[in-house]
Amino acid sequence: MQIQLDHLLPIPLKDKILQRKSGIWNENIQFNPGSFVKIKAPSGTGKTTLVHYLYHIRYDYTGNVLINGKPWSGYNRNETASLRQQKISVIFQDLRLFEQLTALENIELKRVMNPQPYCTVEKVREMAARLNVTHVLDQSGKTLSYGERQRIAIIRALVQPFEWLFMDEPFSHLDEENTSRAAALIAEECKSRQAGFILTDLDHDQHFSYDVLYQL
């Protein structure tokens, strides 16, 4: 699946961005299928905004985000939902778990949203074991620590089929060991799907072997 940015420019940040050079904003950029993309940016330059634009939950921009050559606005709600179930997955910076569900239920929700689940419950447990969160699976989302929530959110993003995974500072609450475990799992899952990802973060890192690097 092709993702293309066509002179994308967030309206609220317009003046600020036009004063400086950006590798993403107001450029014509194409992300090739299967590539690992890192976008590095300091705080306040619109990392989260970009991920939201890519995932189509914010619309206050000029220019276009093209999905398979078609702007997001050309997809209706059910088509968008189908893309989010089949082709695009996301890990939000603010994690967005349901507090009224347990950790496992949060993952299950995403898994069984698709009438033909992509992976099995055993696979979920295996991933939980790899990220050291097996012991919290039955805890309510409310009682989880940020680090635990972040790992649950990562697993939730990996239980569905996708061609692109968007990650917004996915390891911000994890220690080094857990970060490398999570990164390894993500890389593995992407490879097995021949999927690419777009990751935004503050600094340089060596978690993945990136194909492309952008400065926001």
Partner: protein, 398 residues
């Protein structure tokens, strides 16, 4: 493992305003019962009016005559029907058959036999046999017969038994006795006079007159008056529905009158229809409010889960998945209400049929097809309103 809807149930709480939802359900139930009763009563009433089982003998024959007004008095010609008028009556859609009532054009004196010392001037009339409600083998006359079969109006015997005889200290007479009594009937014109034996063969509720067979009437009119037909001043019509408002209007428009009692049924029918319409109307109003409350309830549920629904959609839940989930929460209840209402009306109908049967009125003990179609239509309406509300607010939410 939990299904997607199980998980949604934990996220989208439909418990808010449960009491309102309950009230609306009760409202829907009452509304449905009222509407179904209105439909059912309508069906029953039609069944009472038109079904073969309920055709009572007098219901579909009417004797029509012109109103005798002061200005017509002394001019008997004005009360007879002209051939054009008869043709006009015959043409009306509600008239299935017409029969002219022929009156005698000779003098008739009837005398009671033996010591009763009772004699009276009277008259005869005749109608085609098919309009007569007395089925008797004796009801025939051939030229040369000295015995004339006669049908008396039931009312006449009643008048005698309960009015005349009591006041005159005369014995009351049973129908059987009357039938057994041979009457001496003297028929005369200005020149000749003949005596016949009159034999009462039956009593009619349908036509208030002294009837003799048409064959005798033709013969006697020819013999004593020299003409076989006189202009008719009364016409008996056969109609499927004497309460038909069009019939009543036709009679009024032309200045005709008929057995009023039968026409009064028309008023009853209007009253019943009005009551049924009022019940149905209230049912519809109630249905409208129930739908309104359901819509507001759905709105409330969606509004109270606004954030959750937003996140679900963000995570990729299709609006149609949410729609299906929400409908699944409400729709089964509607169907249960619908079926319960139909059951209740069925039970009521069953008892009503039993009660009516005691009065010789036959209605089906099961609800009519119209009632069942009504149930389906109401449920369809409720369903459509729900789908519309859910899809509108779900979509609005993003």
């Amino acid at each position: 493992m939990q299904s997607f809807f199980d998980l949604l149930r934990k996220i989208i709480r439909t418990g808010v305003g449960k009491s309102r939802f309950f009230m609306a359900s009760v409202g829907l139930g009452i509304a449905m019962v009222l509407i179904l009763i209105a439909l059912q009563v309508n069906t029953d009433f039609n069944q009472l009016l038109y079904s073969d089982k309920n055709q009572n003998e007098t219901a579909d024959f009417l004797v029509i005559n012109k109103k005798v007004t002061n200005s017509m008095m002394g001019q008997p010609g004005k009360s007879v029907f002209s051939p054009a008028e008869i043709e006009n009556i015959r043409k009306q859609s509600f008239v299935q058959a017409t029969g002219l009532i022929t009156s005698s054009q000779f003098k008739v004196v009837a005398q009671a036999p033996g010591d009763l010392h009772f004699a009276t001037d009277m008259f005869f009339e005749a109608v085609p046999d098919s309009f007569i409600d007395v089925k008797e083998d004796d009801w025939k006359w051939n030229p040369g017969d000295r015995t004339i079969p006669i049908i008396l109006p039931n009312d006449f015997l009643n008048l005698y038994n309960f009015g005349f005889s009591l006041s005159q200290n005369l014995p009351q007479i049973s129908q059987e006795t009357v039938k057994a009594l041979p009457l001496q009937v003297v028929i005369s014109n200005n020149q000749t006079s003949d005596t016949y034996t009159g034999h009462i063969v039956g009593f009619s509720d349908r036509i208030s007159s002294f009837l003799v067979p048409a064959s005798f009437m033709d013969w006697a009119n020819q013999k004593y008056a020299g003409s076989s037909s006189a202009p008719a001043s009364r016409i008996v019509i056969k109609t499927a529905d004497p309460s038909n408002p069009a019939l009543v209007k036709f009679l009024d428009d032309n200045g005709y009158t008929a057995n009023q009692d039968k026409l009064k049924f028309s008023k009853t029918r209007v009253i019943v229809q009005t009551i049924v319409s009022v019940i149905g109307f209230f049912g519809l109003i109630l249905l409208f409010f129930a739908l309104l409350v359901f819509s507001m309830f759905i709105q409330l549920v969606i509004a109270s889960c606004r954030k959750e629904i937003q996140l679900l959609v963000t995570l990729g839940t299709a609006p149609r998945q949410l729609q299906r989930y929400l409908l699944k929460q409400f729709v089964p209840l509607y169907f249960i209400i619908g079926i319960l209402s139909l059951l209740l009306v069925t039970v009521l109908q069953y008892f009503a049929a039993g009660l009516l049967a005691k009065h010789d009125m036959v209605v089906s003990p099961l609800p009519g097809i119209g009632t069942i179609i009504g149930t389906v239509l109401i449920l369809a309406l409720v369903y459509i309103v729900n789908v519309a509300t859910v899809s509108r607010y779900i979509l609005q939410d993003q």
